[in-house]
């Protein structure tokens, strides 16, 4: 058991050091590939061994591990303070200093330093480990060819890849540590490591804008770190232990405890980029695409929702729970609205991520078995689909030099493989019978029990999300010249894309069994019964497998009909006049000149303009968060 834990947490760190110090490309390739493989196997191995009760970690080279973590904590805070000083950010310095002071007070005067088993693995942790280790590894593998080309574009004299892969791999180890922590101080340490890694990765290209956005990400997450420390201290004064499973078992709703939990949720909100903290995640787009993929799918933001979900059982049925649900639902709605106005592919994905995280947090707040199931299903499938979409955008961007969806019009004509995979990826985000929609369905059925504001926000947000993603998928379709060659994709690009694409589809089909084997045991009273490949609950039934069969056969038939299109007459589109001889949608205009075809999506700027809506949403979100924190008292 402990060997697997060491592999999952320390192997990435060791591999990161190899990548950093051995500056050979071949070694880096081999290290990343091998680490990815071993992480995947270890995660599966951990799954096979099943859940485990909190366990001791013991000492490391003769030094107590708790002591080691404490020392590393202060070292890390020192490093973060240094960067705050270097970038002249008073916010970072202030938040970090406050953390140092509070943490020192906590460590030296409050905590009794009893032995706390540092690691535990329940179903939630195991699923997170799978997501982090497998999806994260695929992203790192994708980054190998991607970063090579990225640096060729930048004409760097000296490669910065060693540093890049150092932080990517450390990130995976830290995330595994975070989700397996049972000692809240350990959780805090890993929480801070992810903050620092994201800061270094966002600022990787060291351009002015990258640095600016990295600094913003750091101060927002330093605020989250501060909230974590405060939450931890308040919870400790009530619970008297650092042991998370003991805290969860305590079941007290004393005001101090609830306020502490509310601060922990606030820490989760900042990390999960909930409104009004969304700007750091949107700013993070300046980083190379694999970083965005990693932040958005398997690390960082998932750490935020994980923290909220981890502590959700402790505040079930309180006003705090309702507050969390309302905040999450509001983020879902706000980001769906903001997404409608976007034409930048990465921005669309970013808003859709934040929106979906809002939905997950909303589920954690609704806090019924059904809602918690929805949250985990959403985490799992969102990670797969979203990482796939980010990697697709990266591939497209390197091919056509733009990430604007208007420039991706008719992409199928030039890049059929990438376009097809992207379209499938988008459909797995919004349509049944795929996993993300399954999660959304559960969330909506669960929200009907919650309160009316939550229901209305989810209903509206869901419609907007469909609009902006469907629009994107549609515009990538287009005509293709007969006999045109498909674009070539390097092996290490195609492998992650295909794996994730297949994963999104096949795992959706397997969702009833995933539910049965991994989710049902976690939740005390399992909300669903699996029968005939369907998930049945008192609320309703999702016929997963039958729907897959019927729609799958239907799709196969449709694809067959469509592939016989050569027998069908191909016509130029109707332009209410003469089509130009050049084809391609152009028509003969005045003076017999060709008028080229051009079109644009309706971004509804008057209603969904980002600059106009963002301040309003931010103000409302701050009000809701204050309500949540205050209501916990």
């Amino acid at each position: 058991m402990s060997n697997l834990l060491v592999l999952l947490i320390l192997l990435p760190a060791a591999a990161a050091l190899v990548c950093y110090f051995v500056r050979s490309m071949a070694v880096r390739r081999l290290t990343v590939l091998a680490t990815g493989g071993i992480l995947t196997l270890s995660a599966l191995g951990l799954l096979a061994q099943g859940t485990f009760a909190p366990t001791e970690v013991g000492s490391f080279l003769g030094i107590g591990s708790d002591f080691l973590v404490t020392v590393l904590d202060f070292v890390l805070l020192g490093v973060i303070y240094f960067y705050g000083y270097k970038h002249k950010s008073l916010l970072i310095q202030g938040f970090t200093l406050a953390q140092v002071v509070l943490l020192a007070w906590f460590e030296f005067f409050m905590v009794g330093h009893e032995a706390v088993p540092a690691m535990m693995g329940d179903q939630l942790s195991l699923i997170m480990v799978l997501v982090i280790s497998i999806v994260g590894s695929l992203i790192c593998i994708f980054a190998l060819p991607y970063m090579k080309e990225h640096e060729e574009h930048l004409h760097l004299k000296k490669t910065r890849q060693p540093r890049f892969f150092f932080f990517m791999l450390i990130f995976l180890g830290a995330m595994n540590g975070l989700v397996l922590s049972n000692n809240i101080l350990w959780m805090y340490f890993f929480f801070e490591v992810t903050t620092f890694c994201s800061f270094m990765l966002i600022g990787h290209d060291a351009t002015e804008i990258a640095t600016k956005n990295a600094v913003r990400a750091l101060w927002m997450n330093a605020l989250g770190g501060l909230a974590f420390v405060i939450g931890m201290m308040l919870v400790y004064t009530q619970a008297g232990t650092l042991n998370i499973s003991a805290i969860l078992a305590l079941g007290t709703t004393a005001p101090v405890m609830l306020t502490g939990l509310a601060f922990l949720c606030l820490a989760g909100f900042t990390k999960a980029a909930q409104v009004p903290f969304q700007s750091w995640l949107l700013g993070a787009m300046v980083a190379p695409t694999p970083v965005s993929a990693l932040l958005h799918s398997s690390t960082m933001v998932k750490a935020g929702v994980f923290v909220v979900l981890r502590f959700a059982p402790a505040f079930a049925g309180t006003f705090l729970s309702t507050g969390v649900a309302v905040c999450g639902a509001f983020t879902f709605l706000a980001c769906a609205a903001l997404g409608v106005g976007q034409s930048n592919g990465k921005k669309i994905l970013a808003y859709s991520t934040v929106g979906n995280l809002g939905l997950i947090i909303c589920c954690a707040g609704i806090n019924t078995p059904l809602a918690l199931t929805a949250a985990i299903i959403l985490i799992l499938f969102h990670a797969i689909s979203k990482s796939l979409l980010f990697l697709c955008v990266g591939t497209i961007e390197q091919s056509i030099g733009s990430r604007d969806i208007e420039d991706m019009r008719g992409l199928y004509g030039s890049n059929p493989r990438t376009a097809l995979i992207t379209i499938v990826g988008i459909l797995t985000m919004i349509l049944p019978p795929f996993g993300v929609l399954l999660g959304k369905w559960m969330a909506m059925e669960a929200s009907a029990d919650s309160n009316i504001f939550v229901v209305v926000m989810l209903a509206m947000g869901s419609a907007m999300m469909v609009v902006y993603l469907a629009r994107w998928a549609g515009s990538m379709m287009g005509s293709r010249k007969p006999g045109a060659r498909a674009e070539s994709q390097p092996m290490l690009i195609r492998l992650p894309l295909m794996t994730l694409c297949l994963g999104a589809v096949v795992l959706s089909l397997a969702s009833p069994w995933i539910y049965n084997s991994m989710l049902a045991p976690w939740i005390g009273s399992a909300p669903f019964v699996v029968g005939f490949g369907s998930l049945e609950s008192a609320h309703g039934t999702f016929v997963v497998v039958p729907l897959f069969l019927v729609l799958g056969l239907g799709l196969l038939y449709a694809v067959r009909a469509a592939s016989g299109y050569r027998r069908v007459k191909i016509m130029p589109p109707y332009v209410s006049g003469a089509n130009s001889a050049s084809g391609d949608g152009a028509y003969v205009g005045p003076m017999n000149g060709d008028v080229p075809f051009s079109t644009g999506n309706l971004y509804l700027g008057e209603m969904f303009a980002e600059p106009k809506l963002t301040p309003i949403f931010n103000a409302l979100a701050v009000a809701l968060i204050v309500l949540m924190l205050g209501g916990a008292l």
């Binding site: 309160n451 629009r471 379709m477 016929v543 007459k569």
Partner: protein, 282 residues
């Protein structure tokens, strides 16, 4: 077994009923406009003729999208008749809606492109209302399954009157009738030719027509759930609702999407929310 029979009935009867409704619709509309109008079976003749035409498309995506639209519409009706989960029925229906839009966007045609954008706006308008109506069903019956509705003694209309009115908005949009008919205008003189349908012709247009019949039956079936206790009243409710739709269609001009979004979101959602609050309080 019983479910299977119901599903088969649904799959077979829905397009027949839908076609018939389309034919009746044209007769009544003609009567409103003091014309004679085509025979009631005209919709079937039209589709039969379409299937006899040569197959022509701009690209293969259209074939794919037309088929998926039809399949999704049929599956959603089948799920409905199988007494399935209302939200799931709705999501399956959304597959068809999304593919119709994507098919229109696949062609480099200004008309179908604009039509697609407008269809998306229509989706934006009706989707939240439908979800809230389903939440209303849940509030009354304690389940999203259609099964649970039959266990109720009182017609649901008594407890969700405002939700029924809101559903009327969704119905008008889904049936693509004035004032919300701007993605596939039925009238030749209007400037958009045929919106999302511009690039579809022959058999593929026929497929879309049949899919639309399925959708008509689906939405009307939703309305029927509001008076499940008595078949006669259910029929009366449906006839009255549909006649009202035709009346609205013929007396209203086509409006802009701004008008639609504001109207439907404010009034439609407003009514839904008020009704939901009654149910929560009750």
């Amino acid at each position: 077994m019983e479910t299977l029979i119901l599903v088969i009935i649904g799959l077979v009867a829905a397009p027949l009923l839908g076609g018939l409704i389309a034919g009746l619709d044209r007769r009544v509309t003609a009567w409103f406009q003091s014309r004679q109008g085509p025979p009631i079976m005209q919709a079937f003749y039209d589709v039969a003729k379409l299937f006899g035409k040569e197959k022509m498309v701009v690209n293969q995506w259209q074939i794919l999208c037309a088929w998926v639209y039809l399949i999704a519409a049929a599956v959603s009706v089948a799920l409905f008749f199988a007494q399935g989960d209302l939200l799931l029925v709705f999501f399956v229906q959304a597959i068809g809606a999304v593919f119709l839009v994507m098919g229109a966007m696949a062609a480099k045609s200004p008309y179908s492109q604009v039509g697609a954008q407008r269809e998306l706006l229509q989706i934006l308008a009706y989707e939240p209302i439908l979800i809230l109506v389903f939440v209303g069903f849940y509030m009354v019956t304690g389940s999203f399954s259609i099964d649970a509705i039959w266990a109720q003694d009182l017609p649901l209309l008594a407890r969700m009157p405002l939700l029924y009115l809101a559903l009327g908005y969704a119905l008008t949009i889904k049936l693509r009738k004035s004032p919300f008919d701007f993605s596939t205008s039925h009238h030749g003189h209007q400037e958009l030719v045929k919106g999302v349908l511009t690039e579809y012709s022959g058999p593929y247009l026929g497929l879309i027509e049949i899919a639309h019949w399925y959708e008509t039956v689906l939405v009307l079936s939703l309305c029927a759930l509001f008076w499940h206790t008595n078949v006669a009243w259910m029929a009366l409710l449906l006839v009255a609702t549909y006649l009202l739709e035709i009346l609205v269609d013929n007396t209203m001009a086509r409006m802009t999407w701004r008008w639609m979004l504001k109207r439907v979101w404010l009034l439609g959602m407003g009514m839904s929310v008020v009704n939901l609050i009654w149910l929560y309080a009750g």
